[in-house]
């Protein structure tokens, strides 16, 4: 019992330290690719912690959706933007931003400290050692999801559909306008070419005379 507790503690602290490290790497990264890698590390560690919390289904979802889809989407966009994704560092307004962030961090830590001081003592078994065997499994979670959570589940499918359509519409931009400007540019180019041609022929005529 004692050794399992020690192993669990070691596991938790390893995952927690790596998750904080990944988050810090994401926030401080100059290069967004490194940031995405830090995000991936944090996501993997949180999936590990979810496993330790008896949430197997959510751990799997975390890996599939975050590591498999969201981080890959970030990497795609970073590659699409190319070198311009790494915006040149600019010191302008750095101090006010740092002060704001520092105040925010201090407020968060202060709130944590106050809560820790004033919270009532936790019940002795504030993390129950034993959960029902199927707690958090696909079976049990799915049963709850399709009974109590059916309506939000169906609504979330509508949300995802709207998001797909919206993403396509926003990312494509205004195609008609683009085509119009393209046609205008081509017309201007053709006109220019014609003018140079006529000029050249006039010069040739003058030389011949």
């Amino acid at each position: 019992m004692e050794t399992t507790f020690a192993i669990g503690k070691a596991y938790f602290f390893t995952c927690a330290a790596l998750a904080v490290l990944g988050a810090l790497a994401t926030v401080t990264a100059k290069n967004p690719i490194r940031g995405a890698m830090g995000l991936l590390l944090m996501i993997l560690c949180i999936a590990g912690l979810l496993l330790a919390l008896h949430a197997q289904f959510l751990a799997a979802i975390q890996l599939i959706v975050y590591a498999g889809a969201i981080v890959v989407l970030f990497l795609f966009v970073i590659m699409l933007l190319g070198p311009s994704a790494t915006a040149p560092s600019d010191q302008r307004g750095r101090i006010p931003r740092s002060i704001g962030a520092g105040l925010y961090g201090a407020a968060g830590l202060g709130a944590m400290w106050v809560l820790a001081k004033t919270a009532p003592p936790p019940p002795p078994n504030n993390l129950i050692a034993s959960a029902p065997n199927d707690f958090g499994s696909v079976d049990a979670f799915g049963r709850v999801l399709f009974t109590h959570g059916l309506i939000p589940f169906e609504l979330s499918s509508a949300l995802l559909m709207v998001a797909i359509v919206g993403a396509v519409a926003v990312a494509r931009g205004n195609q008609k306008k683009k085509e119009a400007t393209k046609a205008k540019e081509e017309a201007a180019l053709a006109k220019e070419a014609q003018e140079t041609k006529t000029e050249a022929s006039e010069e040739a005529h003058a030389e011949a005379e």
Partner: protein
């Protein structure tokens, strides 16, 4: 087992880190990643609290819907980043002033 307090402290720490990143960075991509960090921290806290109440799955269900909403948010957010880049040739949030004046 680890007491739930540890998870809550970890979650709050991650949330604060994400918030600081959101406030200080001006690269839109890093800003979106900071939002990811904050939402992940919230998910962790929800699942940890659910672990103390094994009679129901409410916390896990909340986390599930947060993941769904976040996937939608990232897809639309990155599309906006792309179209901002097309208009302004930049990924910096302070140069996105198309609505100015």
């Amino acid at each position: 087992m680890i007491p739930v307090d540890y998870y809550v402290v970890l979650s709050a720490t991650l949330f604060i880190i994400g918030g600081i990143g959101f406030l200080t960075r001006r690269n839109v991509l890093v800003t979106l990643m900071s939002i990811e960090i904050m939402l992940n921290a919230v998910n962790l806290a929800l699942v940890a609290f659910n672990r103390t109440q094994t009679a129901n799955h409410t916390g896990q269900m909340f986390a599930f819907f947060i993941i769904a909403a976040e996937a939608a948010e990232v897809a639309v957010g990155l599309a906006i980043v792309l179209s901002l880049f097309r208009v302004r040739r930049t990924v910096r949030s302070d140069e996105a002033d198309l609505l100015k004046n």
